[in-house]
């Protein structure tokens, strides 16, 4: 079975986010007030073959831990849906 996976990679709390801070500082100059908590991460999408959803989740989480994220500085949230979707 094919599953579509979306991995949302974020900096762990407490890790400095210079890109997010720079965007946040720039917003008032562009006329956008009241925006806070800006953080910059990345998303990675792929499809994976697995016997069932549970296996798709566990394989994707393994992939995240060993390669897609650096656990020293990053956390990831994994979303898995059956089929080939446009997450």
């Amino acid at each position: 079975m094919k599953f579509t996976v979306l991995v949302d990679v974020r900096l762990r709390s407490g890790i400095a986010d210079p890109a997010g801070a720079t965007i946040e500082r720039a917003l008032p100059a562009l006329g956008y007030e009241g925006v806070s908590g800006v953080s910059v991460g990345k998303t990675i999408r792929f499809t994976i073959e697995a016997a069932d959803e549970q296996q798709a989740i566990s394989h994707s989480e393994d992939l995240c831990d060993s390669f897609l994220t650096n656990p020293v500085i990053e956390d990831a949230e994994v979303t898995v849906v059956p089929g080939v979707d446009d997450l």
């Binding site: 400095a16 390669f67 897609l68 650096n70 020293v72 500085i73």
Partner: protein, 221 residues
Amino acid sequence: MSGVVGIVVFPGSNCEMDCVESVSHLGGEGRLLWHGDEDLGGVDAVIVPGGFAHGDYLRPGAIARFSPVMTAVTRFAAAGGPVVGICNGFQILTEAGLLPGALQKNRGLKFLCQPSMIRVETSDSSLTSRASTGDELSIPINHFEGNYTCDDETLARLNDEDRVVLRYVDNPNGSVDDIAGVCNEGRNVVGLMPHPERACNDLLGSSDGSVLLGSLLDLVA
């Protein structure tokens, strides 16, 4: 007979010839090793040089650590062999788990390419035996992701175990505790963001890097 320093070349490395030149200038022999090699060919020490291994895609060092040569480098390091990671090489060694912590984007989001004053914090490492604690060296930096970071527990451990090898005199990139270089528990694996191979000849503006690479060569002579 002079010692042989293996210098690992990944697709996208760009400082390997500077390393070969500086090692030979200091009386050793630099030998290039390809990232696809499964053994180190009997070299006495290893330098993982700077550049953009595998294009730095995903994260600097994230793909490089899966190159076949890194299994051999890890085995060599575990046996006590001296391994030095410079700049991108430091990033690769942290991704490979040979050194703690990670290198983040610089504070200020600027690529920094400039001379930098570096203070030696311990002479007990494979890269600093010729130096004395407190020595200040002028060595260039050239990086975008050189902002060393680690959790509080790791930082306390690095300090307690005297494993911060080098600190910036004027922190240019936001690194935690001004850290420019660290070593592993065995003190044989050292990573640093500054480029000593670019400061081994007065013609280049500084020869202070010879103290560091000369220390490495002392181990393999």
